[in-house]
């Protein structure tokens, strides 16, 4: 039985269509991360599951029970807020036991649940303190503890780590993954941070403009984005995009042209989807671009000048100006290409070089943004 099921969930704010017919099924024990740019509706969707937001049409089903009209407290969920939302006038223990107290559980049971949660989260020393006496990481733990004591069917997390500093965020990320393994509960987690999404999720839900763009395992989404949005959203540094035009279409595939690069040939494209003259986009991940000794006639390549080098220790990121060839929609906001080399590189600013890639590594997106290239193998985990 699925743990959470959303059926055609629709939500309008005054004149604004926030959620558009969302269908989503989350299995028991799954860790699902919802990502998307700000304003994509991910937090609204989470609050919809929690019952903090009402919906205009559709159904929310939790553990097989239609809870669309039920209060948050009756849905069998617990939520961890971005702001932690701890009750400032209560001690840590009172905060964590509040849900059970509202459910009129006996005091002994509440104490036992609080003690157990405090043990899991290493909060035993803090139980009599007030939230304001705690550090950010401890507050976050209390917020999680408050969720644990209620032993909910589903945990909901609304960007829980975004108020923490980088080191603490990594630590909490690991702890949360450990907690999921330990409790085995269903967890739905909203974030705008793709590292959190890639590292924690069993499955990622990519949202954009109130719509689900794609659902799948992190590596599946990375290797086989369904469209140009998902391709651009997942992966840092971001995928390079080149605008191109279809030249010929035949059974073997398509050829296309773009200013500043020799004609490219893509095999295995469904010829029915495109016709000569269509505007398409080529996508190539920074790690698939290589620095070539010299231009290879058989390989897609283009010359350029290095504008910026980022030495990250283990890897090196180059920003390459390949005019007249332009990268569109890039992270840096320029027409430069991003090249990621998995080693320390002696290349310096101003260097002239040739970058190349295998078309088998590249993606082709149709005029409507859908991915045209065939499935790529997903690395086994």
């Amino acid at each position: 039985m699925s743990s959470v099921e959303l059926r055609k969930v629709d939500k309008h704010y005054a004149g604004y269509h926030a959620l558009k017919a969302i269908d989503l099924t989350i299995e028991k024990g799954e860790f699902v991360v919802m990502v998307g740019p700000s304003g994509c509706g991910k937090s609204t969707l989470l609050k919809t599951i929690a019952g903090l937001e009402t919906i205009n049409s559709g159904q929310v089903v939790i553990n097989g029970r239609d809870v669309t009209k039920e209060e948050p407290g009756d849905r069998g969920i617990a939520m961890v807020f971005q702001s932690y939302a701890l009750y400032p006038h209560m001690t840590v223990a009172e905060n964590m036991g509040f849900g059970l107290r509202m459910a009129n559980r006996p005091k002994a049971e509440i104490d036992a649940a609080v003690k157990r949660a405090a043990q899991i989260l290493r909060l035993e020393e803090q139980l009599d303190k007030r939230p304001k006496q705690l550090s950010g990481g401890q507050r976050q733990r209390v917020a999680i503890g408050r969720a644990i004591t209620r032993s909910p069917e589903v945990f909901l997390f609304d960007e829980p780590l975004s108020n923490l500093d980088a080191a603490l965020r990594t630590q909490m990320r690991v702890e949360l993954s450990g907690l999921h393994a330990q409790l085995g509960s269903t967890m739905v987690y909203v974030t705008h941070d793709q590292i959190e999404a890639m590292t924690m999720a069993d499955r990622i839900v990519v949202l954009n403009k109130g719509r689900v763009e794609q659902v799948g395992s992190p590596l599946e989404l990375y290797a086989n984005p369904a469209n140009i949005f998902v391709a651009g959203f997942l992966g840092a540094p971001r995928m390079n995009f080149i605008e191109a035009q279809i030249e010929t279409v035949n059974a073997a595939g398509v050829t296309l042209t773009a200013t500043g690069i020799p004609a490219l040939a893509f095999g295995g494209i469904d010829a029915g989807g495109v016709s000569p003259g269509d505007a398409v986009t080529v996508g190539i991940r920074p790690e698939h671009l290589r620095v070539l000794e010299r231009a290879n006639p058989g390989q897609a390549s283009f010359p350029g000048q290095v504008r910026l080098v980022e030495h990250l220790g283990r890897e090196t990121v180059l920003y390459l100006d390949a005019s007249p060839l332009q990268a569109t929609n890039s992270d840096s906001g320029t027409g430069n290409f991003t090249v990621q080399l998995n080693k320390v590189s002696p290349i310096n600013i101003g260097a002239q070089l040739t970058a190349g890639f295998e078309t088998a590594d590249a993606y082709l997106f149709g005029p409507d943004g859908r991915t045209l290239t065939p499935r790529k193998p997903v690395p086994a985990t």
Partner: protein
């Protein structure tokens, strides 16, 4: 003098900004308070020479039955005014609901705040009028006769304080409405997820967030009850037979009508001491609350 200005502006600028307020405050509040205490030690008609009498005014006050009537009436005002914060909170919770037409209702509740206190006094004077007042109309519906509240020494103070309560409730309501608008939405959400609703949501999640506002509402209400003057002046002028007078009004009457400025100043000093002890308590509470929030 640009060099002088540049060297000294780090303290000159704040000093200049503070100066008008400080001068005005020292002159109108501090100097006047000190002079009041000074006058209270004299026999003075307000025009002629002052005669030193030491604590004689206070000794007389201690034996003055009228003083105890005023003091008792101030306590009655205080008790009646203490209804304002809870009623104001209840009204704020009601008009804060997202229901159609609530905006109109909310603005109606603001009306007494726009009216001058004197106006409220005059209007309630008419309401209480035993021949053609609203009260008489209501009593008339049931075939009764309204009591002449303002000319009955047992009821006058209650009637005046009840009239003054009206704008005070509106004031508290506005304070609590502002507080309700500042509620932390995530905390309410957390409360809902934890299953708190209705009275328990109010008690455990909403009210704790309103404690600061509530403290201010109570303090302002206490001060309002202690300094009550204008309503008494307009509605009863302390009558009948001084039964509805309060300390502030008695001070005014002794000074202005009986030309006993020394005695009036002694009453003012006593009122001042009562107020200052309350304000000390208030500031103590405020500082404590701020410390615990730091």
């Amino acid at each position: 003098m640009p060099g002088f200005w540049r060297r000294n502006r780090h303290w000159l600028t704040p000093a200049l900004f503070l100066a008008p307020g400080l001068i005005l405050f020292s002159l109108v509040i501090l100097a006047a308070s000190v002079e009041t205490v000074w006058i209270s030690l004299h026999e003075w008609d307000g025009i002629g020479a002052k005669t030193w009498v030491g604590l004689a005014n206070y000794a007389e006050l201690a034996d003055d039955p009228q003083f105890y009537v005023s003091l008792k009436n101030n306590v009655i005002w205080l008790l009646i005014f203490m209804l304002a914060p809870p009623i104001g909170l209840a009204l704020a919770l009601i008009v804060n609901q997202q229901i159609g037409g609530m905006r109109i209702l909310k603005s109606l509740f603001f009306v007494p705040l726009v009216l001058a206190t004197v106006t409220v006094g005059v209007v309630f004077g008419w309401v209480y009028d035993p021949t053609y007042g609203l009260l008489q109309l209501i009593f008339g519906l049931f075939g009764g006769t309204a009591p002449a509240l303002l000319s009955d020494e047992n009821f006058a103070t209650f009637a005046v304080a009840a009239a003054a309560l009206w704008p005070q409730i509106a004031f508290c309501m506005v304070l609590f409405l502002a507080g309700l608008n500042n509620l932390n939405e995530d905390l309410i959400g957390a409360g809902r997820v934890d299953g708190a609703r209705g009275w328990r949501m109010l008690r455990h999640v909403v009210l704790p967030q309103l404690s600061q506002v509530g403290f201010i509402a109570i303090a302002v209400t206490v001060i309002g009850a202690l300094r009550s003057f204008d309503m008494v002046a307009v509605m009863t002028t302390g009558g009948p037979y001084g039964s509805s007078t309060v300390l502030a009004y008695q001070m005014y009457e002794e000074s202005i009508f009986s030309y006993r400025f020394g005695y009036g100043a002694a009453i003012a000093t006593v009122l001042f001491v009562i107020m200052i002890s309350f304000i000390a308590w208030y500031l103590h509470g405020l500082i404590k609350a701020e410390r615990s929030n730091a």
